[in-house]
Symmetry: C2
Subunit: 570 residues, 2 copies
Amino acid sequence: MATEDNQPTAEDTAHVGTERRAITFDTEPGRYRHWDLAIEAPVATLTMRVDPGAGLRDDYELKLNSYDLAVDIELYDAVQRLRFERPEVRTVVVTGGLDNVFCAGANIQMLATSTHGHKVNFCKFTNETRNAIEDATAHSGQTWIAAVNGTAAGGGYELALACDEIILVDDRSSSVSLPEVPLLGVLPGTGGLTRMVDKRFVRRDLADVFATRTEGVKGSQAVEWGLVDTVVPPSRFDDVVRERALARAAGSRRPEDATGISLDRLHVEIDADSMRYEWVTVTIDRAVGAAHITVRAPHGTPITTPDELVDAGPSAWVLAAARQLDDAMLRLRFNETAIGTWVLRATGDPADVLAAETVLRDHAEHWLVNEIRHYWTRTLKRLDLSARTLVALIEPGSCFAGLLAELALAADRSFMLDGEDPDDQLPPATLRLTEANDGWFPMSNGLSRLATRCWGRDDALHAVRDRLDKDLAAVEAAECGLVTFTPDDLDWDDEVRLALEERNSFSPDALTGMEANYRFAGPETMETKIFSRLSAWQNWIFQRPNAVGPDGALRRFGTGSRPSFDRARV
Amino acid sequence: MATEDNQPTAEDTAHVGTERRAITFDTEPGRYRHWDLAIEAPVATLTMRVDPGAGLRDDYELKLNSYDLAVDIELYDAVQRLRFERPEVRTVVVTGGLDNVFCAGANIQMLATSTHGHKVNFCKFTNETRNAIEDATAHSGQTWIAAVNGTAAGGGYELALACDEIILVDDRSSSVSLPEVPLLGVLPGTGGLTRMVDKRFVRRDLADVFATRTEGVKGSQAVEWGLVDTVVPPSRFDDVVRERALARAAGSRRPEDATGISLDRLHVEIDADSMRYEWVTVTIDRAVGAAHITVRAPHGTPITTPDELVDAGPSAWVLAAARQLDDAMLRLRFNETAIGTWVLRATGDPADVLAAETVLRDHAEHWLVNEIRHYWTRTLKRLDLSARTLVALIEPGSCFAGLLAELALAADRSFMLDGEDPDDQLPPATLRLTEANDGWFPMSNGLSRLATRCWGRDDALHAVRDRLDKDLAAVEAAECGLVTFTPDDLDWDDEVRLALEERNSFSPDALTGMEANYRFAGPETMETKIFSRLSAWQNWIFQRPNAVGPDGALRRFGTGSRPSFDRARV
């Protein structure tokens, strides 16, 4: 058994050649290989200077600020830390650290040689990180600005698109572009097409021209088309970026005089079939292709004031449990792809969970409370967006209450044990929804999991709302439509086992497609468009011989010979 | 050159073995092989009784009321004719004509042996027809009811889902089911998953259980879960269906005492590279992979009253042009898959187009006017949903006015000639938007093409609205953001040719994905979910070895051996 908290991440993620090594998400600014983080409050400047030799594998070089997952893991870390550790930062400027290049996008050699699954997983993670940037701007008073001081191509421009403002240097050569379609025969993989027409409101015909023009658009035309917000000559670039950063900072709701908390390194004990964090445990049952994910309730004296929360910092359960769940999901996604079912449990005293969430309810306006609530929102969204079957088991001794009841509402199906289990002394299973389940944590579709579950059936929603803050036994939970099955103790083990075995017998692709369509009823948002529409098309294209076949565009890129396409439109 | 209007369709669509024959959409009730249409006003009963040997190819048998494109072509014809030919029909009952089987869904052998492209095209067409059924219910006062008198599996149940009411026989054996995921490793292909949660508001966990349960759900449980509206014992089934049909008819807005018009057979002259209808001509330029589609303006005395419109029937330009464009698009989609660009032209006097649309404006409440307006809506949606690049050419002598200006607004990009062409005597190009462009023909996203084009830029929308009913020359059209490029006559030919050549050099898959994401900015609807999200996932799954590989579920179905899956979740 290895204890991971004293090994450098670089060893896990870089220079591993084609050997399959576990991917970890553990890093911090002092260990970044690809980014510099400089803070001069109220502005943080994040400078991309990718180390070509420090990618996740050693069979490609990350030239020209192109990126792979290793680069994006650091970016994700920076986004998180800025929110929690730096309350004094109100604007984040992201810029390039190479001459003439802001960012060249995802590394093409990496894309050309990666498995289909890795490409899809990589794109999903980069999309989640871009959304986290937008989330920081929208909900954290930390506005991201792209200072595009050189060419931004493909994913490089998509990184800028995730920022709230794009400033492009007007030096007669630096352009923004989305050359994936004409050069690579694939789509921009990080939400670019959606953000063109649904965020920046670029006219669709101009967006079409733009995304088929290899050389992109520069100068005043980029402003006219709505691709960037302003262009500035090199001589004034730094000044204008600083002016804009300070102007945006002036409008921020970030607190005065607050002290950040430090996100310590997550401690996790890992062996071949388990990961053990303080509050989250994952054990893998390979026979049925299931990972059992258990979140434990806190214990001890609850934190009730923001000051106690700041003092506790990363050791506060409401933050630590989210971090551990987030980390566990990311590891499972990348390192345990054949484990198709995640079984969700919550164990402990429901009263402890409810006590822990009071500070989130009573002090929502406090900056750290706000950060923690939004972090749970993002973490639960990551659960919704995971291409895994989610099954919740609500057993005696469980604590699916408030915050943790979201795990049951996120599940594709749930089992709740009806009655007592004579073999143990645990209290009967209950489900208890609170205000936390009625809007604190919107899904990607903008609705709570509860409202999505009741979509089109307002009477069902009202019936549940009448039962907030009440312990529901299995029968009542089923009557309210909150759980799927309620076996008694005689049937429990068989029913659960059969369900897991059956799920494991189905096509994992068909399950992924089905779940992606069922989970997001009701309205669509830019996020659901990116994950459910744009990504699905990209996944399709990523499979097609025109992209990945021996004569396809991704494989032929850089070889000097043109791709050979089957011209049939499908 | 063959003239098609005197050949039986069956020769074109059935019994052609593996030989590639052009698919046509020309049929009428007297020639149906798979459906019986019986009318006892106000109720029409459409009975599915598929001829197993009359599929589109002869290497599969359409057993148990399973269907292929040949069956659905007849269904599409019936949906159309009932609206135009039968104003007295207020309810359409669709039922099965075999013992114990309503419909077994798409034929699996057909799916297993069809090309990827055919599967995708087939699903798109069947989806459009299901949407047309919903459109008839919503907009035509012709409510569709499914009388499910036997088992409805997969696409069979999806056909019922497209109806406004589902009555299931309660005979202890007949069930509804979506067994695609567990049996075939693919998704239900005709909107089933979306309609589960977004139309019938089935709880997502029950929907999940349902779509993984091979045997489906029957009896009262089907009502409890929301899968059907009512169950009825066999002894009372026919009576209840009739009662419900009459009850729904009583609420219809269909006219009293109106006489339908007869949709005559479309006359089209076809040779290897062209299709010539009365008002629509298609010529194919294989060198650049483009089909040039020209719609001609009407001439002669315009129809201005509903009575004249009824008298003219199918010869009225406003109806004939839609039918011809619809037919041409369907033929191009299925028979010319390698022609990736559709170049849209409108020729003639704009005044004639504007005169023709006055009857659509002034008499919108008339049943036939209503039908024609909704038919244009569906036809223009079919254009939006075609996996082809759409380029509009607005040249001297063109008539992109009102109704026909929708073609320019539907295009991915447009060229408008600025100035006169000294070589001809034609009037300079103008673009003229009318009320027709401001809401008559919503796209699948529920917005007009104009509003979608101006999405997020209300000032641009208002600026265009201020210019309705005005002839816009190229410069003004460009200023209003209505056209993409405005070359003069010196540059026109080169610019257009280069654009078409360039488009033809790109990956057709990447273009399809890009266009699908750009065309539908703004809100999403059940239709956009079905076409852009559900279909994209299905396309992806249809490519995956887990479905179509030698050991995949589609290929292994019926062989007695289980599929072998790569278990990795992507």
